[in-house]
Amino acid sequence: MFSRKQSNIVSVSDDMANKQQRYQSLVYALHSDIYRYAYWLVKDKHIAEDIVQETFLRAWKSLDSLNDEKAAKSWLITILRRENARRFERKQFDLVDIDDISVADEQLSSEIKLEHRELRAIMSSLSEEYREPLMLQIVFGYSGEEIALQLDLNKNTVMTRLFRARNHIKEALEKANDDKGRKNG
């Protein structure tokens, strides 16, 4: 009886260790992309970090419901979007200017940095309905079908939004360059 009890305890702690390991793998594999996605969703690094924390905590609590590791990414995105929606139920945050963000491209030339900064400003000026599918494509490499599935939208709608998002970015860039040209000329 005692030996059986002991082996139960061992298997329980085995399960626990197993779960812990799955969780840590999940964190290491996906936290960067999830954080970036969160950032582009809320455009504030502190709020993004909070939401990512909440997302992963929820993920830990219901990790047993995740059966297929391949589905982990979209599972986390779903949790994250829900957390973000909950935040809006609570209160509307002031959105912080995009220039606040420290960027990953410190080793790049100042010209490219400037260009990236400009791009980020344009990207964050996109309305959420364009920004969100674009970031799923850019950050996670999702296909049109996958984005449609994740956002519960029609695929044609997704493709139209992606087209408009890039169209907007391109036009805004050209306009900015024109302005610069005029200023310099």
């Binding site: 990236h116 980020r120 890039r166 169209n167």
Partner: protein
């Protein structure tokens, strides 16, 4: 594939591998240039999207989870402790109750015994001599000094595993049952006891108790006094 459709498709997904798009780009260098330019832009967008992830984010996420697990574990321990305490409490209570239960009331038992034996004892027609009675009382160290009236029935009986003596004798207004019961820790004796039909009284000697049971309305007291006088128990 016309110009507009070509643009729409590559704008929606610059890295698409659509046969029509590839064909259109192959046939028209201007389209190919445009596509490559868009791919370059997309590359820049991709780079610009790579905002810096806080250095310690992964550690924070794991730390937060271990804290949560620890907190849950502590809660679970508390629940276990509470559970164990409740079980101990219930066990304690029921043990006490069980002990008290086994401490049966002599009075109730005497009444039950009379009902149980019923007519067999109460309507017995023997006439037991003083000698015979004393022989039976000797086991309890008792002796009846003189005749006390007719005794119709005298037999050993079992009082919750205690060998006792069951007598039926003539009272003033009818037959009365008398039990001679050695003292035991099991019993809590009560002086007077009764239910709707029967009533009883008891006399304590040093080693035994007498329980006298008669019908309601009978003068049990009177027989009790008589027994007190005529019955002696040597310690």
């Amino acid at each position: 594939m016309d110009e507009l459709e070509f643009r729409r498709t590559i704008y929606a997904d610059p890295n698409c591998n659509d046969g029509n798009v590839n064909q259109a780009a192959g046939e028209d260098p201007a389209k190919l240039d445009f596509w490559n330019e868009l791919k370059k832009l997309d590359n820049k967008i991709q780079q610009a999207s790579q905002v810096k992830v806080p250095d310690d984010l992964a550690h924070k996420l794991i730390l937060r989870q271990s804290m949560e697990t620890h907190r849950k574990g502590k809660q679970r321990n508390r629940i276990h402790l509470a559970l164990a305490a409740s079980i101990a409490f219930v066990f304690g209570i029921s043990f006490t109750m069980w002990q008290q239960q086994s401490h049966i009331s002599l009075g109730e038992h005497a009444l039950a015994h009379v009902y149980h034996e019923g007519a067999y004892a109460l309507e017995a027609q023997e006439d037991i001599s003083l000698q015979q009675i004393n022989a039976k009382l000797a086991r309890f160290g008792g002796e009846l000094s003189e005749d006390i009236g007719q005794i119709f029935y005298a037999n050993s009986c079992d009082f919750e595993n205690i060998q006792s003596l069951h007598l039926v004798m003539q009272g003033e207004q009818g037959r009365v049952s008398v039990f001679v019961i050695p003292h035991s820790d099991k019993y809590s004796s009560d002086r007077n006891f009764s239910d709707g039909k029967l009533k009883g009284d008891s006399v304590d000697f040093s080693l035994v108790s007498l329980m006298i049971v008669g019908e309601q309305g009978q003068d049990v007291e009177q027989l009790k006094d008589k027994l007190k006088q005529k019955l002696q128990f040597s310690a």
